[in-house]
């Protein structure tokens, strides 16, 4: 098995989950209603759990332990897409991102239930069952707000326009696509993107929202190769502050 290809896949998935988990946790206590405080908090907990499980798989493949991978890596070694790094913004943007990102996650994990790497296929089966609820959450609010008032519709369309070039960056190809496919580890970003577009198109259509048409050159790539937005570094500083405050001697 091509371990480098497998690790690259696991790192980008784990880093996506950790960073979106951190971002969405910022809604705790400030959501528009208590149910949303709970929903975003709960989804964040799930995501950070997924990150931990994926880091554990990396640890089994010889990488450092999960806490070290989460809290003690340099920014350039993170493989998350820039979409998950963006600040939470207004509630409209956070909902649009949650919907777009989690739909991709659900399809990705569904594909991975067929992975030839058994530890990943078993985990994917479990994670898929959790993300199903995240997608239900995203679908519900996208439809409700898309078809709500004139203002809610305008805000959702505007958030979608802003999110779109970043969302397409989720599917940035790795140098290992061929290996992942030939070894049946993962079917690949292109196929994932195709299925994602089919799924989100249905929901967006019923929400009266229009998929922006953009030039390929505008798609925000780079995250998968370690090139990040200006927002990741401050996020990591905050996330890792406690760990870094006493790296030498602290035992947690």
């Amino acid at each position: 098995m091509n371990t480098l290809a497998l690790k690259d896949l696991l790192f980008k998935m784990a880093d996506d989950a950790l960073i979106i988990g951190h971002r969405n946790s910022e809604w705790t206590g400030i959501g528009p209603m208590l149910e949303e405080d709970l929903a975003f908090s709960s989804m964040s907990q799930d995501k950070i759990g997924h990150a931990q499980a994926l880091y554990n798989l990396l640890h089994d493949l010889g990488e450092a332990d999960a806490d070290t991978l989460a809290f003690k890596r340099e920014e350039k070694n993170f493989k998350c897409c820039q979409f998950v790094e963006l600040p939470i913004g207004e509630y409209d943007f956070s909902i649009v991102r949650q919907f777009l990102f989690d739909t991709a996650e659900l399809i990705r994990y569904d594909m991975l239930t067929q992975s030839s790497y058994q530890p990943l296929s078993l985990l994917a089966k479990k994670v898929k069952g959790e993300i199903k609820y995240h997608v239900m959450h995203g679908d519900t609010f996208v439809k409700q707000l898309g078809k709500g008032t004139e203002e809610s519709h305008a805000r959702m369309q505007s958030a979608l326009n802003y999110a779109w070039p970043y969302a397409l960056g989720i599917f940035e190809k790795s140098e290992y696509e061929t290996s992942l496919l030939s070894e049946n580890i993962f079917i690949g970003e292109e196929e994932l993107k195709k299925r994602w577009l089919e799924k989100i198109s249905l929901v967006l259509e019923s929400a009266n929202l229009i998929i922006p048409s953009i030039d390929d050159a505008k798609v925000v790539y780079g995250g998968r190769k370690g090139f990040h937005s200006e927002f990741l570094s401050p996020l990591l500083d905050e996330m890792c502050e406690v760990t870094r405050s006493d790296e030498a001697t602290a035992e947690w």
Binding site: E35, L38, A39, S42, M43, Q45, D46, K47, I48, G49, H50, Q52, A53, L122, L123, K125, K126, V127, G129, E130, Y133
Partner: protein, 118 residues
């Protein structure tokens, strides 16, 4: 030494299951890990007890505490080592819970918790 060996050989998996009934789920302390259906297998290999468990959800923060409690409780039977594996080979669903545990949990949990977990 001999008597200790005999004592170990006499242990059965049923005794381990009984010991596990003393391990509470720290998030729902009226229920045990057996009531919750999170123990997926119990084996004995010589003087080692091997307990396998599966979390209700991937990010369950109580796993570490439960592993430790299981080790403590099963160790009381006299095993040289108690190994606790956590894996997803057998996956948890609410169907793994004992019927009486389901009834009890229905009284405790709020609808939002149930929505997000099941």
């Amino acid at each position: 030494m001999v008597s200790k060996m005999v004592e170990l050989i006499n242990h059965t998996v049923e005794e381990i299951w009984s010991a596990l009934e003393n391990v509470k789920d720290p998030e729902i302390p009226v229920l045990t890990v057996v009531d919750m259906g999170i123990i997926t297998s119990v084996e004995i290999s010589g003087s080692i007890a091997i307990v396998t468990m599966t979390p209700t959800f991937v990010g369950c923060p109580a796993i570490g505490v439960m592993k430790k409690s299981i080790q403590e409780e099963v160790s009381k039977l006299g095993f040289e080592e108690v190994v606790v594996h956590v894996d997803f080979e057998t996956q948890w669903t609410s169907d793994r819970m004992k019927p009486e545990a389901k009834k009890q949990i229905g009284k405790i949990w709020t609808s939002s918790t149930v929505y997000n977990r099941w």
